[in-house]
Subunit: 201 residues, 2 copies
């Protein structure tokens, strides 16, 4: 498919480098942009430039932030003795939107995945250990995905923090709300029976 | 989902205005961008600014172009007596990639669709009529999608060009290459029998 304009070609090339966007989709997106006002396209470009220059990472928890310290870490009313360790910024947003957690976070920026060449040194694990060792922390919640990579990462962090004298917890595992029991996988269902809890209303 | 940075929020807002991209996908794309080098994001922004300022439309056929006249219209070896009328820039690229056509194009910029409030005056139909009336045109090929809107638009253009004395043709309709006959819709199959052609190898 030969593109009749180098500028169109370049923009399509940029969009098609994004995950899950092929050249045909990229072309559709760019032609959609071209139908909008020139000022709209400029605003899009400006938002990317602002992104490149202004987005920072919180120096405490490594969450995305506009300041040196993010809004969560700088709120005094939150429980600063509890750290919830998550893989990504999206996970922080997901947990925040449950409104069930009032502690702080630590964003690893990924999980240990030898297949993808990601080791502990590529993640914010050392900074977590230092943060816990600095004192004032009561509990570390390992809130990583219940996958092999997530479990590996949790175990690695657990071993690093073992001697420090903090409570280390992990997310409850069991059947998900509104799941059909007959379609729940054996591992999850088995674990939810072993870990059964007193009935309460 | 509360986004922890106004700059992130703005970029997500821009991406989620694109067709088929919701807020979660937009967030994924922007966080992917953030993991790249700052200069990569700047290059993306620059490509959009260039798009906004440099892309033009060919004054003859209204295809996207970097010049006042597009590469197709300014190539002397092409057959300038034949105009292929298409809906969009993508259709030009699709037909060009077949390498079966050596005439010129006329990009309407859409098709007549009363449901979407698009009438003949919103399209490049008047400029087509003027281009044909100016003389030197032998054939106009109506290469619009075989849908109700496409057929309506073809019929409208046909009525406009009837008196001018050019041959007006349309794309052949029939069973598509590699289609399974039993799954071909009745209309297409019926038409392909009525329009049957001498067998040739």
């Amino acid at each position: 498919m030969e593109i009749p304009s180098v500028y169109l070609e370049r923009a399509v090339g940029q969009f098609s480098q994004l995950p899950g966007i092929g050249r045909k989709t990229a072309m559709r997106l760019v032609l959609h942009l071209l139908r909008r006002e020139r000022s709209d396209i400029e605003a899009f470009a400006e938002s990317l430039n602002e992104l490149a220059h202004n987005v920072r990472y919180c120096k405490v928890c490594h969450n995305i932030s506009d300041e040196d310290t993010c809004a969560i870490c700088s709120t005094p009313s939150r429980d600063h003795a509890t750290i919830c360790v998550v893989e990504s910024v999206q996970d922080v947003m997901a947990i925040e939107s449950t409104q069930q957690y009032s502690g702080t976070y630590h964003v690893l920026g990924g999980i240990i995945s030898p297949m993808d060449g990601i080791g502990p040194q590529d993640l914010e694990i050392q900074s977590l250990v230092e943060r816990v060792q600095a004192g004032g922390i009561r509990e570390v919640i390992l809130a990583l995905s219940p996958t092999m990579e997530g479990d590996t990462t949790s175990f690695y962090i657990y071993r690093k923090l073992e001697g420090v004298g903090v409570t280390i917890t992990t997310l409850a595992r069991g059947v998900a709300q509104n799941d059909q029991l007959q379609y729940t996988d054996e591992l999850t269902l088995g674990r939810s029976i072993v870990d059964r809890r007193p009935f309460s209303v």
